[in-house]
Symmetry: C2
Subunit: 228 residues, 2 copies
DNA sequence: TTGATTTGTTAGTCATAACTAACTTTTTTA
DNA sequence: TAAAAAAGTTAGTTATGACTAACAAATCAA
């Protein structure tokens, strides 16, 4: 290898676990993140998770007591943030330069984020003139590893009559992203809550003249900023 | 996964072996390529090679008789050519857009060539406006998998007084590439053979007003086209 | 042509990272 | 608070792809 600093000696799997744990912890840092939760998130067995957590503890990326909650060390966080940076920069590249659609970028970025080369990612960043957000509206951590989160709330948390702007979407599911595009929603769309149906919490929304009814599950994955 | 056709179900290792075998066969298709030769090329043990060859034979990518020479099936060749296409396109991207130098591109391209997505590589090709050659002067196979080889000879095969043009270099060694750049040689440089020293086959060459003495080993890795 | 050398193969081991099944600890709830 | 449920752990298995050591076949050379 050309440059020792390009090697952090982590396998693809180790990286996946660190990133997943970071994202679970970031979702809601008030509640405990446990072994089984991480297993479910990564779609592996609890035994696999347990095993990997042991290894990551030995390498000082994860801290936890037996039967206790999982936490990341500063070093573990730093690796996770770097992966998120890589993921979002690649998504941006695919979307802005290679004609990938909203729902196509995630899977390929999931592979590209494991390529080991600091120069590659920093030059890609420079080439795109240091983009701030990825195609899903999420902020891209900078080369120093500064991770910011846009203050955002879910569409499902609003009330009738509220007006908001779509600022980001959860990029976990291809089908969801495809549906978002299909009905005509995009980043920055202005959305008005017309009605929330009590019995199933489905929501009638209006945007760009269109009126749609969406489920609670859908609204949970759409992040907005209130306008009035 | 989004697209079934993005999956060819080959592991990184399987791909590495197919590509290596293809390149050994391409070097000189008159001589037999054997198990140990492949092992040495890949810097793994003969036992590992033997094992993998068995697997690749079962999958119909490789054909060989026991103790016999190794050959690729059409399918095996097609996979290898696609890897070479990906490798060379990524090298070109790194060199032309991300400020990578001649000697830095190889290692990163070696990782990038295993990313599985037809769309990614075809869009990258389009983005760069379908380049013909990579930074080392090698032809890039097209999306149909057409693999062409530039008729080329090594610098070491010339005679005193010959004049040639540098058309490609072997990209296997970082140190070699770095040295090529250092002495000031580049693609298209016009080189004159001043003298070949009998006792060690070292060669005095002249290019761009510079005079250098290079070893036989060096000259074996420099590919040229005779001018007169 | 026969013995030495090279080349190829087989058997068995190791690490990684997944799995299931069984078990233990913790938490919940009746 | 004790039983049930959930969460976490351990043990043992599997597949991949390396390895070494030992052995067999093919080729070279005296």
């Amino acid at each position: 290898m050309t440059n020792k600093s390009n090697l952090n000696n982590l396998t693809k799997s180790e990286e996946d676990y660190l990133k997943a744990l970071f994202q679970l912890l970031a979702e809601d840092h008030t509640v405990k993140v446990g072994n089984n939760q991480l297993a479910e998130y990564l779609k592996v067995s609890p035994a696999s998770t347990n095993n990997m957590i042991k290894k990551l503890k030995a390498k000082h990326y994860v801290v936890s007591e037996k039967y206790g909650k999982l936490e990341l060390t500063a070093e573990g966080q730093s690796i996770a943030v770097r992966l998120i940076r890589k993921h979002r920069l690649w998504e941006t590249f695919l979307y802005n330069y290679l004609n990938f659609s909203w729902d196509e970028v995630h899977d390929v970025a999931e592979q590209l984020e494991h390529i080991k080369s600091y120069k590659l990612i920093d030059e890609l960043d420079r080439f795109m003139d240091f983009p701030e957000k990825d195609p899903h509206g999420e902020l891209i951590p900078n080369a120093k590893g500064e991770y910011k989160v846009i203050p955002k709330i879910t569409l499902s948390s609003l009330e009738e009559g509220d007006v908001c702007r779509l600022i980001a979407v959860n990029d976990g599911s291809v089908n969801f992203l495809r549906f978002v595009s299909e009905i005509g929603l995009a980043l920055s769309s202005k959305i008005k809550i017309l009605e929330i149906r009590e019995f199933d919490k489905s929501i009638r929304i209006q945007f760009d003249g269109t009126i749609e009814t969406v489920t609670k599950k859908f609204a949970d994955n759409v992040f907005v900023k209130k306008v009035i």
